[in-house]
Symmetry: C2
Subunit: 358 residues, 2 copies
Amino acid sequence: MTKAELTIRTVNTPAVLVDLEIARRNIERFQAYADAQGLAVRPHIKTHKLPAVAEMQLKAGAIGITCQKISEAEAMIAGSPKITDVLLTYNIIGLEKLEHLKALARKVTLSVVADSEAVVEGLSGAFASEPAPLPVLVECNTGADRCGVPTPESAAALAQRIAKAPGLVFGGLMTYPPAGGAAAVQSFMSRTKAFIEAAGLTVPVITSGGTPSMMQAAEAPVTTEYRPGTYVYNDRSLVSRGVCGWEDCALTVLATVVSVPAANRAIIDAGSKALTSDLLGLSGYGHVLGRDDIAIDQLSEEHGRLVSKGPIHLNVGDRLRIVPNHACVVTNMVDTVNILERGEISAVWPVSARGCIV
Amino acid sequence: MTKAELTIRTVNTPAVLVDLEIARRNIERFQAYADAQGLAVRPHIKTHKLPAVAEMQLKAGAIGITCQKISEAEAMIAGSPKITDVLLTYNIIGLEKLEHLKALARKVTLSVVADSEAVVEGLSGAFASEPAPLPVLVECNTGADRCGVPTPESAAALAQRIAKAPGLVFGGLMTYPPAGGAAAVQSFMSRTKAFIEAAGLTVPVITSGGTPSMMQAAEAPVTTEYRPGTYVYNDRSLVSRGVCGWEDCALTVLATVVSVPAANRAIIDAGSKALTSDLLGLSGYGHVLGRDDIAIDQLSEEHGRLVSKGPIHLNVGDRLRIVPNHACVVTNMVDTVNILERGEISAVWPVSARGCIV
């Protein structure tokens, strides 16, 4: 591709654009907040899946990265020698995954989580004969009702189980709280910490996460570490919650109008294969920048339907930039993203950790 | 990977499984119906994205394939020399896409659609100096309110515009109707055909599509061709519409239980990155085979939450097979699918046309 083709006026659509200056500003804003609070930052890479953006986060002051799946961690580590500290916030189950986990632990500083004896037993069986023990954090349910032990008592019991397991060391406490859950985190974690310390163990890390409540992280002072993900790009969901403005959205989907079949309706070439069907409680599938009158009311795989209350004033061939409801899932749809610097495309980056589901 | 690892008991999860015998039965069932009705079959490859499955469809009697995007057609053609006839049911806009379209037309029998003069002008400009003219079908809106000209009169006018355009020939009429839209298709298409024939043109093809109504295709006898997509795999959406049963679902997602945090709740390792957020009007995100009591009530990217009215009776490490709401979008999430034959994994196939959005 020649330099001249790398413009937002001619790049083949639909295309995902990532404005690196906005991303850098978003990274630095939260890092400054966390630094002021004495909170370590360990960004979740699920939003960008790009080793180069992880390097930006590390350079700004992050202590390491968070991944959900082993294959994500493997892809990120393969993409950057600067990624040397990884927390996997997932219960690792099964022989094949445990083999990969051992290989990973020999390459980087690794920690994982567990929320049951079954997971602890599997980890211990795999690491009992490894040269170094694996730090395992207890995942706690502070209200999101996904994974996690249900009570401080059960968290403390699992911490002791980990501490006694061959090949493992107790690494701390982890939670993914519901939005606005700082008080619940503070209550659950401080009680759990007291129980664990009473049993003679120390709690080296208490880690929480979630972009929606990240600027209230200090309201749970018991936490030592925060794992924001979406904050690097932001999205329509976060704008709708008042967390940021459109000007803070680093990721947009560039689409072309392919049909204007009615005065108030237009069809774009970005459907659910670009924008995804994630609603996150919203109505419609994204925000067309500069066109507050337009709703994206329907997606099929390759078509997005735009409707306006009045005449839509669009022509076949027009290009639009859309802030998706959820940035993380959009980067998972595409093999490459177009990097924007000073308003123009400066590079095309492969999305290294795309599709890493195992 | 050794043969022993290729089993549904040990394959790394989440994994997409495709039962080839069920797919073959689905292909043959519709082909037999279409043959009996004198209807040509041109399957939409968006569901499988696999050249080898397209070959199964062609072998059963399909006259060619349907693709939505140029890059899908390129990937499919690169994957099989038997794919020699492609209909692109999409308005092709922009210089880069038109260049790819010209290259494609030199390799295979190609036809495309248009629903506006702007699209026709672009195609004509690109093909005016090509050795062979490009057949262009008029896309008609028979009620789905996506793309398509709105009336038989406007369809006939665009057909005449195509017929006069340098580099193009009028190729017929195309529609993607709403479910149960056979009567609307029959009415729109027969009136349009009469207008076009009165103007001295012939209508070589009238093509309709959609799996939900495929067994009622004969209720629109004016159609000459049908483009089913999802029929090859089926999914929960089609079961819920009464189109097929669970035993006809060729695609399943194999997932592992990673947490059982409450008596009635379990978490699996398949989230929206495997099952997608497509609801298609349903409640919940898929059907757990053999467990009618379970609802998948919440997905995050890497977690699926299962809830039961009573005790869920699942343990960490248990494996479940899930029929997703929408099969097509699931194949777009994964780089490979595991091929099932006689109940075991016989091969791992790359999803050749995954992520082809341009």
